[in-house]
Assembly symmetry: C2
Homo-oligomer: 333 residues x 2
DNA sequence: ATGGCGAGTGAATAGCTATGCACACATTCG
DNA sequence: CGAATGTGTGCATAGCTATTCACTCGCCAT
């Protein structure tokens, strides 16, 4: 019997209140012309029936769902939590809802495009390290704006907002040099991440510009375990580095812990360490990690701005400066 | 000109392929009766136009959106990230989409109900510490199933799944006692969290059952800073505890860091510490924290199961056992 | 030869809301 | 007092898809 139950419709309310369906609609539309008495009677009937206007017909007509899809690859990195939090606030403030899509790989994103297009999402935000070009093209064809974070996609209807990863890499080189570093190491993120690539390139360029020897290299992931492994690799050899730039904080934590536990080394006592993301944890006592703050709020603000650029079918790329937050891990003595 | 652009509809495809709209619909409906040749011609035309079936009309008729709303209070706690990740996987596997809603307070949840109801979400999952009874009632009225996590809501169409918080509190008391604790302390979470209340009550009951003195108490939040403050409060007095049960891991980390930095105390050397949630970080070298694992996957599996209980208008509450993961922080000597 | 049958297709419709248009009525102004 | 203005309401429709119903056309069996 409850199998064919339906939520009350505006027609049901109209019948209950003895008015037409359009009157009900007007009662729920701010600024619509309706007598206050009628309106009150309708709201009363609606309340009694538990009526809520169905948003779908409106969407069907206007093709504006009020939904923005946010695509992420996983949540293990607190940086994504920060991004999600900021986006959530911004979207709510703009009266939009967030559809959260988690994809294992970019191949699967292609499959998800059908769904997103089917729900007529107003826009897609991709926090994926690597966003599928094919998927982006499909969305472009449907004129669904897409904003990528720290990616390097190109094409119509595609906007991107990134940190100044290259410049930050250079800045890291300068800082480590100033603080007394002589043998440099780089703890890498995943090779397919454009941010990782830019940070490493900037670091290398910074070292070269200062006339310093290139950095030894280890790692290959944005996670804690990658950092652990990188530290073991870098410090098992004879020529141990004394200044490290890590592709992100999570890896830096792994590095610092292994240095302390396995090698009895401390930061900054024996090794200078710089991270990236400025997670909350970077300020915690065991780490006090110098790190580049990506200014998530600014990223999101720019992203929201780019989403609003309805007309712009041209490719837009914006860069948000990151801010160096120096803590104990680079203060020697 | 692009102001009134509309994505291609099935009618557009039909025109292009020289068939009727129903044929197009059939071409995209698995198992529908259509000649293979026609189907191929339609798919070709659809491909050329970039057609994707609009899901909204179907939703309008069936009242099944394929969307589940997940309501959270924030993302600062990695525990929510774990939950979100697990839910995301489970929903994807079930062919559902996740609408993520972040609310500042439960009052705002009331306002959000209109939206959720308007989108005709199939169900609501609330990971809120405190879920508004009023909001839940509204959803019940619309026959939208609601599942709360670690909450103690009651009513029709409301299901809840919780950890065995009370039992875990008792277990914590037994463990700390066995490991040599004599003066006990409890680092509390927020007072309005049912999980916090149950954990504290279980701990108190456990201590009493063992004939031990009651625990001193500090804290009042699930975050790191709360833990820091709690440690300062608990260890500034003359009678310092030597065994702590923390309402969650994040607070426990704050406790451990302050003990080490400000008081020169170590866990487990000077103080035994038990946390709750078993975050990834609990295994990290500076902490090696004994913690109760809430088994997020099991929580989510049960939640998904409860969502499927379409018929059940009765209130269902399920408990998932948490698993004690013992690490160095409670191993003395 | 003819009734029956299955496959393939088109026409029509349900589902719900917002809104343009038309109409009825009241009020005000010349 | 007639006209004009304004207010409040109902009618009809668009928006898109899945699905039911009806129809046609081969084909087989009787």
């Amino acid at each position: 019997m409850s199998g064919n139950w339906r939520p009350p419709s505006s027609t049901d309310v109209a019948r209950a209140a003895g008015v037409s369906q359009s009157a009900v609609s007007r009662a729920f539309t701010p600024g619509a012309r309706i007598a206050e008495a009628t309106r009150a009677r309708i709201l009363e009937a609606a309340q009694a029936l538990g009526y809520r206007p169905n948003l779908l017909p409106k969407i069907l007509q206007t093709n504006r769902s009020g939904i923005v899809a946010v695509v992420v690859g996983g949540f293990y990195n607190p940086y994504f939590a920060m991004t999600l939090e900021a986006f959530s606030k911004a979207l709510t403030a703009a009266g939009l809802q967030m559809m959260l899509v988690r994809v294992e790989s970019d191949r699967i994103l292609d499959g998800v495009v059908d769904q997103l297009a089917g729900y007529r999402v107003d826009a897609v935000v991709s926090a994926l390290a690597l966003t599928s070009q094919a998927a982006a093209d499909q969305l472009s064809k449907l004129r669904i704006p897409i904003v990528t974070l720290n990616s390097d996609l190109a094409g119509d209807w595609i906007r991107s907002v990134s940190s100044d990863n290259f410049a930050a890499g250079e800045a890291a080189a300068r800082l480590l040099r100033e603080r007394g570093g002589t043998r440099f190491g780089f703890v890498a993120g995943p090779a397919d991440s454009p941010a990782q690539v830019a940070r490493e390139a900037g670091f290398a360029h910074g070292l070269a510009t200062l006339g310093l020897p290139p950095a030894t290299r280890a790692g290959g992931g944005y996670d804690y375990a990658s950092g652990e492994q990188a530290a073991r690799d870098l410090f098992s050899g004879a020529e141990r580095p004394d200044a490290l730039f890590c592709a992100n904080d999570l890896a830096a934590f792994g590095v610092i812990d292994v240095l302390r536990e396995d090698f009895g080394l401390s930061a900054p006592g024996d090794v200078l360490v710089v991270g990236f993301d400025n997670l909350d944890m970077a300020a915690w006592a065991p780490y006090r990690l110098t790190s580049f703050d990506q200014d998530v709020d600014a990223h999101v603000a720019v992203a929201m701005e780019l989403l609003d650029l309805e007309a712009g079918a041209t490719c837009v790329a914006r860069t948000v400066p990151s801010r160096l937050v120096e803590r104990e891990s680079t203060r020697r003595g």
